[in-house]
Symmetry: C3
Subunit: 200 residues, 3 copies
């Protein structure tokens, strides 16, 4: 189940990468790489930082196949994906929740401090988008308006509070990803944004 | 022989890096770093991803010396290098073939899957240019028009087909790099490019 | 004492990161990340390159706390920091000296060649700024006008010359960081810059 959601999130991230790269007028190789880093860039950075090498996608090629599938799906249906925007957004939000959990888990396995684990969860979920934006020559959108990194930090905090309370791990997983998904949906619905401190 | 070609490729990549950095009006430090990452950035990223650390150039300083040589040569002869464009392009193409082989080999040594090995070969040959372009604040040229990444993937595929056929490794090396070099020359001559999927 | 200076340097780098990010109109998450990478990006890259993982800040959270402190201080006092520019510049310069020493030391511990150690020292001191500039979508300032990377290389060279002379390590530390700090102050005062080779 968890693995299935992870795959679904990867697919959604890859598709959103394809659409971004097409807007940047990239060729097929560029489009594929942008799909790849959008989906796997955050986890790859995480693995390099904690020394979990060869990085995860080199050990489990299913992620690469899912991205290849997302690449072809998005290319073929790119004219009709606008009608699926809501489904895509939902998958993307599921990805955000699941990717955060994957990062938290990898941090725990490496016996790292909760603060570092939360950073790894946020990185797994959000830094694929950061690398995508850098490769597209943009200031990362998550640094400017999107609030999702903050939501991942919130989710990670909930995770460790529940750990302290010795709640069963499956429940913690459900609640953490639930919090992330619900708050993300609310953030988009109510147009929440972090303030940008102005200069004075 | 192989090592010599590797050095020649590194030199060509470094020189092309110097010329790019001068166009961007960088100072001497910037020019050196751009020469360095153009030549060694792809291999460095590869080593970090597979956990082959300290990364290769820290273990074999000859690469660093070659880049320093390329740096000085390119600075001194920068006015006359335009006349050597064809030679430089040839060296660069040799570099593409040899770097791909180096990446494939490192993947095999790390016992990684053929798909991953091909990715590592392509990365070794092409991602120095990607990092160079990011540092120069451009969308990487290999994502937009240059076809050479696709040629490295083709070369890697040929490599593994020949491996399946149990052909002697030296022959495989020769054929693989030969394919990459010849197809690259043809691609430039006939102006082949990957299509960029348009929006509709 | 050394640790204290390291912390002071981290604080100054973080504060300068905050000010840069505010100028780029980033939100609070973006500002924090820019503060973080300005201070710790160079050391993080160094650790990944030499395979010292999990990277340093994951093992010693004090650096993360110092950056959080710098983040809040800079946000609260951002209107008044212009009056403290000289103090900040001094801390920043101390950071340059101390960070270079940290990088040199890590290279020695990993038994790397002096050339590589000097590269690691320079990277620790200067590449946080490089990553900051990339995330802010700028060509890194250290590649264009600031001379400080060259000063770190000079400091590293002094370090190894003194090592050859078998001078006590504490004296070497003092002299090396002293050289970096004094030359940096002189470079800014006299407006030294590396030449940018022009095209012809």
């Amino acid at each position: 189940m968890f693995y299935l959601l992870d795959i679904l999130g990867t697919l959604a991230f890859a598709i959103s990468g394809v659409l971004t790269a097409i807007n940047k007028k990239m060729d097929l190789f560029g489009v594929f790489i942008i799909a790849f880093v959008t989906a796997l860039g955050g986890g790859t950075l995480r693995d390099m930082l904690i020394g979990h090498t060869p990085v995860s996608w080199m050990r489990d090629l299913n992620y690469v196949y899912v991205i290849a599938a997302g690449f072809f799906i998005a290319l073929i249906f790119r004219g009709r994906l606008s009608k699926l925007r809501k489904s895509l957004f939902l998958f993307d939000t599921i990805g955000l929740g699941v990717f955060t959990l994957v990062g938290l888990e990898k941090g725990l396995i490496a016996k790292l401090n909760p603060t570092v684990c939360i950073a790894l969860g946020t990185m797994t979920a959000c830094f694929g988008g950061v690398i995508r934006d850098i490769l597209c020559n943009e200031i990362p959108v998550v640094f400017r308006k999107e609030i999702y990194a903050t939501i991942c930090i919130l989710g990670g905090t909930v995770f460790f509070i529940l750990m302290e309370l010795e709640i069963p791990i499956n429940v913690i997983y459900l609640v953490t990803s639930g919090v992330i998904i619900v708050v993300r949906l609310m953030a988009v619905y109510y147009k929440w944004a972090l303030p940008a401190p102005y200069k004075y």
